[in-house]
């Protein structure tokens, strides 16, 4: 029998999922080994965030299999789902800090809710996590006093409070200045190594991703279309990859949303706006 630790931590097979009638993910398969930092890239609206929702058990796939540590996430509910989530950390796009709690209390929240540790131990743990993201000095602040980058670092400290095996990052670099984005990137890398985690980053920041990811997958039209290392991405002359990496407005991915031909619509044919 093979060592269970060699088995991939995340295993998605032929996943179909969407909202209403529209399928966002269609036949997506992906396997992530332990310890890896995987970046999932792709244009907006390509189902990257839905992927995190499926892995966290917030949505159930229409069909296919979504497994984390060998457990079929879509079939878990109640206490068993919560048992899995205690081992999965998630950094939301804008941090999602509790605005009625101080920075300290935000990071203490998982300990107070999930453990019965005495307050003196919680205090030390919170200060350690805040130190890890460089914000021990901001413990007494409220979230509204923090900049976007600081808020995300506090949220990161909160997300890693219970030492998760898997960290999921939803657009961790969006809206940050290059320095803050660099800090978050280095933290993701350092924490992944220090705590032996596996990280899944959903992003479209090419620069940061190239710097920290072990592997990059590109999603388009609901499935994975490219799977490569940062080195391969840099050197590729694939038109699709180049369009994405260099930010070219038009290419294999069209600039225009599908519409009636321009001339015909201007002449009064087509939809209701004619």
């Amino acid at each position: 029998m093979s060592d269970p630790l060699d088995a991939p931590l995340i295993e998605l097979k032929d996943v179909r999922f969407g909202y209403g009638e529209r399928a966002v993910l269609d036949g997506l398969s992906l396997s992530v080994p332990r310890g890896q930092i995987l970046a999932v890239m792709g244009g907006s609206g390509n189902g990257k965030t839905s992927l995190l929702g499926l892995l966290g058990g917030r949505y159930a796939a229409w069909s296919g299999s979504v497994q984390v540590e060998g457990q079929e996430v879509g079939r878990l509910s109640g206490a068993r789902l919560y048992a899995l989530r205690r081992r999965v950390g998630m950094l939301f796009q804008f941090g999602a800090l509790f605005t009625d709690l101080s920075v300290f209390d935000n990071v203490a929240f998982p300990y107070r809710e999930q453990t019965s540790l005495p307050e003196s131990v919680i205090r030390d743990l919170v200060l350690m996590k805040l130190e890890a993201v460089g914000l021990r000095g901001a413990a007494g602040s409220t979230p509204s006093q923090l900049s976007g980058g600081m808020a995300r670092r506090v949220a990161l400290a909160r997300a890693i409070a219970l030492d998760p095996m898997l960290m999921m990052y939803d657009e961790p670099f969006t809206g940050l200045d290059p320095i803050s984005a660099g800090i978050i990137g280095r933290l993701i890398q350092r924490l992944n190594a220090a705590f032996g985690m596996t990280s899944l980053i959903v992003t479209h920041d090419v620069n940061e991703t190239l710097r920290i990811a072990d592997r990059i997958v590109l999603i388009s039209e609901g499935r994975i279309v490219r799977d490569m290392t940062p080195q391969e991405l840099r050197e590729s002359d694939d038109l699709f990859i180049r369009q994405f990496a260099d930010g070219l407005p038009d290419g294999p991915v069209p600039f225009h949303y599908p519409a009636t031909p321009y001339a015909r619509q201007l002449l009064g044919e087509g939809d209701a706006h004619a």
């Binding site: 966290g56 917030r58 048992a83 989530r85 999965v88 998630m90 999602a96 509790f98 605005t99 999930q114």
Partner: protein
Amino acid sequence: MLDFLEGLGGATLRVLARLGLASRFFVTVLARTPGALRRPGLLIPQVHFAGVRSLAIIVVSGLFVGMVLAVQGYEVLQRFGSADSLGSLVALSLVRELGPVVAALLFAGRAGSAVTAEIGLMRATEQLAAMDMMAVDPVARIVAPRFLAAVVSLPILAAIFSSAGVLGAYLVGVELIGIDSGAFWSQMQASVDFRMDVLNGLFKALVFGVAAGLICVFEGYHAAPTAEGVSGATTRTVVISSLSVLTLDFILTVLMFRGLN
């Protein structure tokens, strides 16, 4: 004609679907309520917000309603030479009707709308999702204590409203107009029945607390995560709570007092 029927059918279905959603949510909230009772650290700040911080508006409104009742009541009663009954008129109107109903309407406008906006914004900023991802049930942690706070606070607020109203009526009726103080109090004491009037009034307030509490947490929890979503939900909380309180009041009054004649 067909369009009209189609629209009517669609609207009815939407209302029914919303009612179904609210009923299921109500059951979920009720199931989490015992847990909220076991965590006073979560409940007490909510009672403080919904109850204690509503005191100013409740006391001032109660005083004014009582004073107006005294002026109007005196004007009518003295035509029949029974101005001495002012105490019982004021106390019965307040304890049976105005205390629970007006307190509930004020509560929906002050505390209910605030709770809806708070929960709605927590949803819009993904705080509820973050909590859920941290394996903490947002219904148990956020919704249940706020619902319970409304249920606990409203009967007390209604009682305080009625007391302030009686005091206001005393100030105007006895101190200002000059009705005999002994007659004012003894008439009141003779005509107000503890079970029929006081307890029934408090029971009404309890029912209103359940209704207003449920509506405000439901609207907040199901608000669309946008600015219009939260503002719409806040408006709906005030409108639906007020209409529900008035409807429930009519039903409860008929049930409580129909056997009396």
